[in-house]
């Protein structure tokens, strides 16, 4: 079973606390890009947060920081994920990543391993699971995302939608307490978007999720909160009805007019 049972007391626990996160990239000798310019976000257990905003607004950078794939600048405020302080160099980032699941835009399945081996690898190596147990649990998860029949296939035999469902199952195999999705449907053919969103919708009932997405329909329907970002900052943060129905900031309105 997927972890994160939704009892009311647990719902109050903050899983993510980000304050004043900054990230600058040096792109030339004296050219600097501010990917994040003071990013704030708090997420409590059970929430489904959708990050939206124009490209280059820092959504992906912010998401990747929550999994320690990007390091914030030294003058950042605070970043705690699942109780770990990610700004502290002493923190074991591998342990944090093991507890946080991540799904990428381009799936990033391991092409040299079969589907079931993709799922079993991390539980075996990181948790020391017995190979048979890891495979049994992997099959269970493949069943849930509806592709148990592909367990023995190499990833390149799958359609885009199937690949992304395997990627979701692979992340779930580590029993994460938080799932991050980085534009999970952006690389898919239109007719395959639905099957991936269906799996995510199912998952949303039992999991805390942060989703960077351009799927406004999904955000409106599934999100408990929608966060609009622009130029490396959170511009608007609220329930979907409010952000989509009555956006308070002109930049949010301009963006939504373009995409809706």
């Amino acid at each position: 079973m997927i972890s994160g049972d939704a009892n009311p007391a647990a719902k109050l626990r903050p899983l993510v606390e980000a304050r004043g996160l900054r990230k600058t990239y040096r792109t030339g000798v004296d050219r600097v890009v501010n990917a994040l310019a003071g990013f704030d976000l708090a997420v409590t257990e059970g929430e489904i947060v959708c990050l939206i905003g124009p490209s280059g607004s820092g959504k992906s950078t912010a998401l990747r920081m929550l999994n320690a794939l990007e390091r914030p600048d030294a003058d950042s405020g605070a970043l705690r994920v699942l109780g770990h302080d990610l700004l502290d160099p002493e923190t074991d980032m591998d342990r944090v990543r093991a507890e946080v699941g991540m799904v990428f835009q381009h799936f990033n399945l391991f092409p040299h391993l079969s589907v079931i081996e993709n799922l079993a690898l991390a539980p075996r190596l990181v948790r020391g699971a017995a190979p048979a147990d890891a495979r049994a649990r992997g099959l269970e998860l493949l069943e849930r995302v509806g592709i148990a029949d592909k367990a023995g296939e190499p990833p390149d035999r799958l359609s885009g939608g199937q690949k992304q469902r395997v990627a979701i199952a692979r992340a779930l195999a580590m029993n994460p307490r938080l799932m991050l999705f980085d534009e999970p449907t952006s690389a898919l053919d239109p007719e395959m978007v639905g099957e991936v969103l269906d799996v995510m919708r199912d998952l949303a009932a039992k999991m805390t999720m942060i989703v960077v997405t351009h799927e406004m329909g999904f955000a409106r329907e599934v999100a408990s909160r929608v966060v609009f970002m622009d130029e490396g900052r959170v511009v608007e943060d609220g329930p979907p009805d409010q952000v989509f129905g009555a956006p308070s900031h002109p930049r949010t309105r301009t963006f939504l007019e373009k995409v809706l």
Binding site: L69, D94, A122, L125
Partner: protein, 282 residues
């Protein structure tokens, strides 16, 4: 006859004509040389086969050392740690940037004594002893000589393998490393189980070239007195006053080893399913 078949037939005819012409030229050339194949095979050929045994042994042992060493050095060059990167860079530049002949001399004359290469050399000689006796290799192998030869060949080949490995690792999409790390794997685990298995498939062809180069380069061990194939050939030339027969046979023997090596790697490529990528489209 289809168009494709007609084109194939024309191509085969052209190849046959070229090869035929070359054979006629060689056969008609006056080499002013009295062949003595009978004498050669009766009295001298076995010395070349003894040399061949040593060439294969030294090449194999060097390969077995060069591959892991090259992988480690190559990974050092892609490492985050600046010390490791500098070590990898230094190793590659030193062993790739000087002639192998000079390196063989330095290993044998300069380094072998202070580094105590005689010990591992003696161990290697003892390990190879039963094989050599079974194959009828008559002369004794000096421990220091074989150790210096193996050390020189292994380090030299490792410096090239390191660059091949680095290129292979860097050719793997960044998303693979990110996906592996996002699941909680350490950098080492991600390298070992995700990046390297994919990289090694890609670098099999250049690795095969490196192994073939290693077999040929082992001939340089003759300068420190290792009785490998090239040294044996020179001995036969001097002892038998024959030149053409031993050298042509030796060339054929090297070619034979390397063709076998090529075919072996090719089979490995097929088994791993990489051979079909990039195949021509008809």
């Amino acid at each position: 006859m289809t168009r494709a078949r007609r084109r194939l037939a024309i191509r085969i005819a052209i190849y046959a004509a070229v090869v035929g012409l070359a054979l006629v030229v060689i056969a008609r050339a006056d080499l002013r040389y009295r062949w003595a194949w009978g004498l050669f095979f009766d009295r001298w050929a076995h010395l070349l086969l003894e040399g061949l045994v040593l060439t294969v042994e030294v090449s194999l042992v060097s390969m077995l050392l060069a591959l892991p060493l090259g992988v480690v050095i190559g990974l050092c060059r892609t490492a985050h740690d600046p010390g490791a990167r500098l070590l990898g860079f230094g190793f590659v530049e030193v062993f790739r940037g000087t002639p192998l002949l000079v390196q063989v001399m330095i290993w044998y004359h300069v380094l072998a004594g202070p580094m105590g290469l005689e010990g591992p050399g003696a161990w290697l000689v003892a390990a190879l002893g039963p094989i050599n006796r079974a194959l009828g290799v008559s002369h004794a192998v000096q421990p220091t000589t074989i150790a210096a030869a193996v050390a020189a060949l292994a380090c030299f080949a490792a410096s090239y393998i390191a660059e091949i490995v680095r290129a292979g690792v860097q050719s793997i999409d960044r998303g693979q490393m990110e996906a592996a790390r996002s699941l909680g794997l350490t950098h080492y685990q991600a390298m070992r189980h995700v990046i390297l298995p994919q990289a090694l498939r890609r670098i099999l062809p250049p690795l095969a070239s490196e192994f073939i180069a290693l077999v040929k380069d082992s001939s340089l061990a003759s300068v420190i007195g290792l009785q490998e194939l090239t040294m044996a050939t020179r001995d036969v030339q001097a002892g038998a006053y024959m030149t053409f027969e031993p050298w042509l046979v030796t060339a054929a023997l090297y070619l034979g080893i390397n063709v076998l090596l090529s075919l072996g790697v090719r089979r490995l490529e097929k088994r791993l399913g990489v051979a079909r990528r990039g195949e021509a489209i008809q």
